[in-house]
Every structure is written in structure tokens, then in C-alpha cells.
């Protein structure tokens, strides 16, 4: 399991680099590194489906972000109360982490999940759905309604993006402006 820790620490370093870099393009690429690390972690954790999806989604995210940031300026300004705000943020985050540590003690230990519901999937999954890939069986048969919702989220995002990129939102009081549907 040592490689898991190494990858996690690598990801945290990558995240910090991505956050603190002054150059937007490098920052976006550092996020890409974090995402690829995450994909390998998924493989180590025996989740090949998620690893593949994470990989391709990561690539797509990266392309979109690079398209957005290329040749763009980067003004950095530090406001007057920089120290105070940072202190508040760090205090909030440490309180959050402290509570999380308390709660994590009560969770089942790492590597030993309870698997009450999942147990039924393991036992009955193959016989009742006929799919060898249990993850497919879960998303498209046991919980297909979730997948419907998720496809709807994507559809909503498509329409949302199309809405946001419209050139003209309001019709002017006089004069006719033709609709521009992409």
C-alpha cells in the first residue's frame, strides 16, 4: 500500500503547485497532473471503470480549460486585509479537519467496508442481471434512475452552455435582432 501514500502525497503537492503558481497555463497543467495521479490511484484501488472514465474526463477538462486560458493575462492583486482573511480561512479549514478526524475514528477502518447493500449485489448481481461487469450492472440496472438523472444533468449543462454563449440576451426596445442559434 506504500504506493498509494506516495501517489496521494504527490497529488497534494501537485494541488499546492496548481494553486500557488502565478502562470495560469502551468496551473491548469498541474491540475492535469493531479487528475492523472487520481486515475492511477483508482487503478490501485481496483476500480478500472472509474479509472478509464476519470482519465478521459480529465483530458476533456484539460482541453476545455486550456482553450479558455490560452494567451490570457494574469493580474494578481493582494487586498489590504490579506492576512486577516487568510487567517480566517485557515482557522475554518483546521476546524473542519479536526472535526473530520473525530468522525473518521468512528468510520469502519480503511480496507474493511461493511458492504450491507453491496453484499446483495455481489451475490445476486450476475444471476439477476447477466452482466459480468458489476459496476455496469449497478449503474444501468439496479440504479438506472440515477443514470437517467445524470444524463439529464449533462443535457442541462449543454443547454446551459448554449444559453450562456448567446450573443444577445435582451431584445432592444426598438429594432429587430435576429435570433442566433448556434
Amino acid at each position: 500500500m506504500i504506493e498509494l501514500y506516495i501517489l496521494l502525497i504527490f497529488m497534494i503537492i501537485g494541488a499546492i503547485v496548481a494553486i500557488e503558481l502565478k502562470d495560469l497555463l502551468s496551473s491548469v497543467i498541474a491540475v492535469g497532473a493531479v487528475g492523472l495521479g487520481l486515475s492511477i490511484v483508482f487503478l490501485i484501488l481496483k476500480a478500472p471503470d472509474v479509472a478509464i472514465t476519470q482519465l478521459v474526463v480529465e483530458i476533456l477538462c484539460l482541453i476545455i480549460l486550456i482553450r479558455a486560458t490560452l494567451k490570457r493575462d494574469l493580474p494578481f492583486s493582494t487586498t489590504g486585509r490579506w492576512f486577516l482573511n487568510t487567517a480566517i480561512t485557515i482557522a475554518f479549514i483546521s476546524a473542519f479537519l479536526w472535526m473530520a478526524v473525530q468522525a473518521l475514528k468512528d468510520l469502519p477502518e480503511f480496507g474493511y467496508p461493511i458492504m450491507k447493500v453491496a453484499g446483495t449485489y455481489l451475490k445476486k448481481g450476475l444471476a439477476e442481471t447477466g452482466a459480468a461487469n458489476l459496476v455496469s450492472a449497478v449503474i444501468l440496472d439496479f440504479r438506472a434512475y440515477d443514470t437517467l438523472g445524470e444524463a439529464t444533468v449533462l443535457f442541462t449543462a449543454v443547454i446551459g452552455v448554449l444559453t450562456v454563449v448567446r450573443r444577445v440576451g435582451r431584445k432592444k426596445p426598438d429594432g429587430i435582432i435576429e435570433e442566433n442559434n448556434e
Binding site: P48, D49, A51, I52, T53, V56, V57, I59, L60, I63, I64, R67, A68, L70, L126, E128, T129, G130, A131, A132, N133, V135, S136, A137, I139, L140, D141, A144, Y145, T147, L148, A151, L154, F155, A157, V158, V161, L162, V165, R167, E182
Partner: protein
Amino acid sequence: MSKEGEKGMSLIVKTITRLTVGLILLYGIYLVLHGHVSPGGGFAGGVIIALSFIHLMLAYGKEAAFKKLSQSAASFFESFGAILFLTIALLGLIAGYFFSNFLPKGEPFRLFSAGIIPLCNIAVSFKVGAGLFAIFVALVLLKLDSEKKE
């Protein structure tokens, strides 16, 4: 993106794209069709299919990509995927429940098994692929527009 006019990237990139883009598309289709027996499935396959078109678009400029898959075709495929998925769900009502797995399960580990799951995979892949391509095209067009204005 492009250094030399609107027509895409350099010759090396174009050649390699020509060789790989078909393979990427085929890999996506493979992932979709074998989603129920091996890792992969509708989402991953759909995203890869979208990526293959995006790849084409990045290398050759937007005209070449639109020749293969125009925007109206993309929106058609998206709606088609959604309607296919919903139809499968509604057909389940005949068997008793919304989303019930009504087809014969077949023999495990074969391509034609697992009832409605492969069909759902195909529907989801249509939807995801076309949807992501549409998002990307919208963003690219927005960017081109704003650059033109400057």
C-alpha cells in the same frame, strides 16, 4: 490555437491525427459495446467518441470536423440517445416496473447478454458523446467570435 491561419496545426500533427483518429473512435465504440463484460461502458466510451471528433477539430480546424459530424447531427444524436434511453425505461413498464430489465439475460460473458444493459450503454454513449461535443463546439465558437471582435 493555430499559428498559421485558421486551417489547423502543422503537417506532423495532421498526419498523426489522420492515422490515430479512427483508432480512437474504434476504441470508444469497443468500450461501449463491451461495457457489460469488461471495464468501460457508456460514459467512458461516449467521452472517447467525443474526444475523437474534438481531436479532429483541434488538428484540422472546425470545418473538417463539421464535415464529419455537423452540429445539427450532434444535436440529433443527443436527442436520439435520450429518447432511446427513455424508451427502454418505458418498455420496462410492460414488464412491471419503470427500468425493469425485461430482455432475456442470455449467457454471461458473451457480447449479447445482460438484457437491456448493452442497449442502455449505447444510448448513454450517444448522449454523452454528442452532448460533450456540443459543449466544446459552443465554447470554441465563442472564443473565435471574441477573438474576431478584438
